[in-house]
Symmetry: C2
Subunit: 112 residues, 2 copies
Amino acid sequence: MLTKRELELFKLLAESYKAFCDPKRLIIINELRKGQKSVGDLVRILATPQAAVSRHLAVLRQRGIVDARREGANVFYSLSDPLICEACDVVQRIVAARIEKHNKLVEWPMNS
Amino acid sequence: MLTKRELELFKLLAESYKAFCDPKRLIIINELRKGQKSVGDLVRILATPQAAVSRHLAVLRQRGIVDARREGANVFYSLSDPLICEACDVVQRIVAARIEKHNKLVEWPMNS
DNA sequence: CGCAAATATTTGAATATCCATATATTGACG
DNA sequence: CGTCAATATATGGATATTCAAATATTTGCG
């Protein structure tokens, strides 16, 4: 049996994971690992319309994954917690192990 | 600049994260940490229609998070990789730290 | 103030996800 | 083979997410 408190935590966790469910957001996170970047920087790196980048950043902000710091006209983004790198690394290892193991034997989500 | 290969990896990773984006799937994962469980077990634990549980399990299966093993009429599910526990723990620590830090100061995704 | 650059938000259409209901498959057993 | 229990899949409606385009906000500067 789950307490209401635990259920709320799982809901919050599920929400948090959504931050990582878009390739472009993962690229953003990956870039921010190298150091803070302005929105303009990310627009250039992603080669994606500014509105889209800003929206992805809002998703990351709302879920507490990145911090925003205004500096003049620019806003610089950075990862809010070093643990985020660790989480990304672990998941990457999981996926890598999966690719390694049953390279062509498994049902892949991309196809369906 | 990103190679096509890297882009594909980020796409696959984003897909993989989707496995964790539902509270009930997180509960399932949490239960499987304690040991393998049949679909019926999970239906009872989640108090959720069997079809819904089966669907969540299919999502987890397709993304390689769980393994299914048939035993007679029952199908037993288990986590496919111990690293999954580690990933869940890290993300939980991230969220816990966030709750701790700015308990009431931040914009929460649940409200909007 | 007025304008330009940087960033954010809104809107609407296309797509995806979730749940409940119904239906299909699979295995055990007589 | 027929039936029941266990599990899986299909369908349709409600809700959420995505992208692009347009618009709004904020800041620096003259």
